[in-house]
Symmetry: C2
Subunit: 115 residues, 2 copies
C-alpha cells in the first residue's frame, strides 16, 4: 500500500521549500527586490525580454534598435552582481524542477513510450 498521492506531494512541496537551492533563490530574490534600483533594472530587463518573445511568437518584425536595446539591458543585469546571482539561482532551480518533473512523470512516460 503506497502513501496517499497528495500527502507525498505536500512532502515534496516542503522539501523544495526547505532545499538549499530554493532558499538561495528566495534570499537573492528578496535582496534584489529590497534594492529599488536593482529591482527596477531587473523588471525592465524582464519586460524587454518578454516583449521580444511575444513579438517573435507572433511573427512580428524585431527592429535593430530593439535588438540593441535588449543587448544593453542584458549587459546591465550581467554586470549587477546580485541580479546575475539571482538569474543563476533561477536557472539552477528551473533545472531542479525539470528533474523533479522527469522523475514524477516516469510512469506516464513509460506507458506512452510503449505506444
Amino acid at each position: 500500500m503506497s502513501e496517499n498521492l497528495y500527502d507525498v506531494a505536500y512532502k515534496l512541496e516542503k522539501a523544495l521549500r526547505e532545499s538549499d537551492d530554493f532558499k538561495s533563490l528566495k534570499r537573492l530574490y528578496d535582496e534584489v527586490n529590497a534594492d529599488e534600483q536593482a529591482s527596477k533594472m531587473f523588471e525592465n530587463f524582464r519586460n524587454i525580454q518578454l516583449n521580444l518573445q511575444q513579438k517573435q511568437m507572433s511573427g512580428e518584425e524585431i527592429t535593430e534598435e530593439e535588438i540593441n536595446h535588449a543587448q544593453k539591458s542584458v549587459q546591465l543585469v550581467q554586470q549587477h552582481e546580485k541580479i546575475s546571482q539571482l538569474m543563476a539561482a533561477e536557472q539552477r532551480l528551473s533545472m531542479v524542477v525539470a528533474e523533479l518533473n522527469k522523475i514524477i512523470m516516469k510512469p506516464l512516460e513509460e506507458m506512452y513510450g510503449s505506444l
Copy 2:
C-alpha cells in the same frame, strides 16, 4: 531538516504509479492497445487531432472537409466503450497531475506572486 528532494520525488513517482487513477489508465491503455481495431481507431483519431492542432498553431487554413473528417473520428471513438473509457481516464489523470504540480510549485508561486 527536511527529506532529500529527490528521495521525496521518487516516493511521489511510486505513489502515482500505485494510485487507482494511474492503474485504471494503464489497464484501459493496455486493453485498447491489445485490440488491433481499437488501437488503430484511436491512433487515427490522435493523428487527426494532432494534425489539426499543428495547422491551427501555424495559422494554416482548415478546410470544411477536414472538420467533417475530424468530427467523424471523434464520434467513432466516443462510441467505442473502451476508447471512451481510456479518454476519460486520461482526462482524470491529467487533472491529478495538474493538482500535484500546483501543490509542488506553491513555493515558487508564492515567491513570484509577491513581485
